[in-house]
Amino acid sequence: MSSSSANLSNESIFRMYRQMVRIRTFEDNANQLYLSAKMPGLTHMYSGEEAVAVGICEALTSDDKITSTHRGHGHCVAKGAEFKAMFCELLGREEGYCRGKGGSMHIADQSNGNLGANAIVGGSLGIATGAALSSKLRGTDEVAVCFFGDGATAQGLMYEVMNMAALWNLPVIYACENNGYSEYTKTEEIAAGSITARAEAFGIESHQVDGQDVLAVNKLTEELVARARAGEGPFFLELMTYRYHGHHVGDINREYYRAKEEESEWKSNRDPIIRLRGYMIENGIATEAEIDAINEEVFKDASDAVEYALNAKYPDPSEVDMHVFTDVKHALA
């Protein structure tokens, strides 16, 4: 791997490896649930981008806030969510993190500082920046990380909130996951100029980083989080990454916008999990057997959770008008 991990504990490296495998495994299971028509609706796979969510969230505490996107399962896992409640949410069951009211696109373990996955592209830029303002007003050292894609850089809200974050030195990190595609369109066709230059125009320190290198992502984020806590924010990261699947699980025949050779090049030569595994073995951090054991444990955990969720209860129909307002049990009663 390109980065040095001199200050990184083996425990942290193991945790990041495990979290990346958990995300990949969650997505593989979610894809199977879709293909076997057991999952309502569609979902957007995070596979391929694991190092971004994991490298960043490893640098955060559970009090730090994140906002996530329609491609949000990875952020949710990385911020500490459990498989059972995630699969229950994906399948619209009562025990889901959102009691089945959010589904894939709004999945979040709110107790770990995840302020929600947002299905409006760029829709959470204000929320994350507001969480950073709140942190400052409340006198805490919490940092907010806003995950969004390259497509969201075309939304005006980003420029409004980056301006205010820079004016007021807010502890927010804008994490732009550049996976090369804005839905079904190449990023170079929708983004003029450089993405980091957008933030630099506001005087925001910006970095482009290899989003397939979890150690590099983590190292940089650790530094920036510490500086944001010290009042030096905001920061902007452009994480160069790749989504292995289509825009969503139903986007299967996609050669009209993306070549299969390109996909296999990223999967074979730049996969973040394969790269970290190789690094761990080469540097004597783990044995093949130890890594295989982690994988097996995660696969089993996921298949148990899928089985549990498939048999879990749907919410009672009486829940339909609950949670419209905080203080009214049933809004339509």
Binding site: K65, T67, G96, Y97, C98, R99, G100, K101, G102, H106, A108, Q110, S111, L115, G116, N118, I120, G123, S124, L125, G126, I127, A128, T129, G130, A131, A132, L133, S134, S135, L137, R138, E142, A144, G156, L157, E160, V161, N163, M164, L167, M322, H323, V324, F325, T326, D327, V328, A331
Partner: protein, 331 residues
């Protein structure tokens, strides 16, 4: 009792709540030293400082979204939107984010945020500074909507709004900021969802919102002189709506006119009239009548603008017709 302006009432409500609860803060354009173009917030930045009365760039979606994020993480922002017309700029943050967060999270996240803005025509401000857009917000589940009709309501409803754990949009009539009303010195809040019967009557019910309450009261005076007894009711909040009080009055008088400054079609008047027609049908002598703003963009010229909004004379004229039975089956 003392009389203060609606503007002073709003200022007092904010100051009292900010003294009571340090998580309450104001954010918006020219809210600090300028105290807004209407000078409503004058003095607050001097007392509470620029950390709690925060001037923003002209970026409505930006500061609205930040209000949502701050509300989700322990603060109680009062977001100041200079003109109600600008609500179209913040619709995603208000309707897709603030309104749905509690529901989409299965009740785990709250957005205790107030959006203070205004409504009202006849200020010669033309089509982009004169609209009354509360019905558009009320259409979206998850947002409470308050429409104060005087300084007294403006203070009591705003204090309740700030203490509410849901997103609340409060629309003040921008033509009423200098109107005075009796406001007690001692603290009070006005609960949401409780209509106020401003005047009791037996022949017809006039339901008015915001400044249209005054229009209805003037119409009731005109009608009283002619021997027609009009009941005037102010719902005070349209979400939640005190349907019970409105329906009971309709059953009692058997005739209803709903008066509101939003556009008539698909609006507040339509919704309230429809509920009365559904719930009090067999008690009515005529269908409940709607009187909203004309379905045209608000024009600039006084000669045109004044005819777009309901007037006391217009309400009285329709009331006479209803009482005479002329509008039966003609609504």
């Amino acid at each position: 009792m003392r009389n203060i302006t609606l503007s002073q009432a709003v200022n007092e409500a904010l100051a009292e709540e900010m003294r009571r609860d340090e998580t309450v803060f104001i954010i918006g354009e020219d809210v600090a030293e300028a105290g807004t173009p209407f000078k409503i917030l004058s003095g607050l930045v001097e007392e509470f400082g620029t950390n709690r009365v925060i001037d923003t760039p002209i970026s409505e979606p930006g500061f609205m979204g930040m209000g949502v994020g701050a509300a989700m993480t322990g603060m109680r922002p009062v977001v100041d939107l200079m003109f109600g017309d600008f609500i179209f700029l913040v619709m995603d943050q208000l309707c897709n984010q603030a309104a749905k967060t509690h529901y989409m999270s299965g009740g785990k996240l709250n957005v205790p945020m107030v959006l203070r803005t205004n409504l009202g025509a006849t200020r010669r401000s033309a089509a982009q500074h004169s609209q009354s857009l509360h019905a558009i917000v009320a259409h979206i589940p998850g947002i409470k909507v308050a429409l104060p009709s005087s300084a007294y309501e403006a203070k009591g409803l705003l204090k309740t709004a700030i203490r509410d754990n849901n997103p609340v949009v409060i629309f003040e009539d921008k033509l009423m900021y200098q109107d005075k009303a009796e406001v007690p010195e001692e603290e009070y809040c006005i609960p949401f969802g409780e209509a106020n019967i401003k005047r009791e009557g037996t022949d017809i019910t006039l339901i008015g919102t915001s400044s249209m309450v005054q229009v209805c009261e003037k119409a009731a005076e005109i009608l009283a002189a002619e021997g027609i007894s009009a009941e005037v009711i102010d719902p005070r909040t349209i979400v939640p709506l005190d349907e019970k009080t409105l329906v009971e009055s309709a059953k009692k008088t058997s005739r209803v006119i709903v008066v509101d400054e939003g556009h008539q079609s698909f609006g507040t008047t339509s919704e309230i009239a429809s509920r009365i027609n559904e719930k009090a049908f067999y008690y009515l002598d005529a269908p409940a009548l709607r009187m909203g703003a004309m379905d045209v963009p608000i024009p600039f010229s006084p000669a045109l603008e004044d005819i777009t909004v309901p007037t006391a004379e217009g309400v009285a004229e329709n009331a006479r017709k209803l009482v005479r039975g002329e509008l039966i089956n003609a609504a």
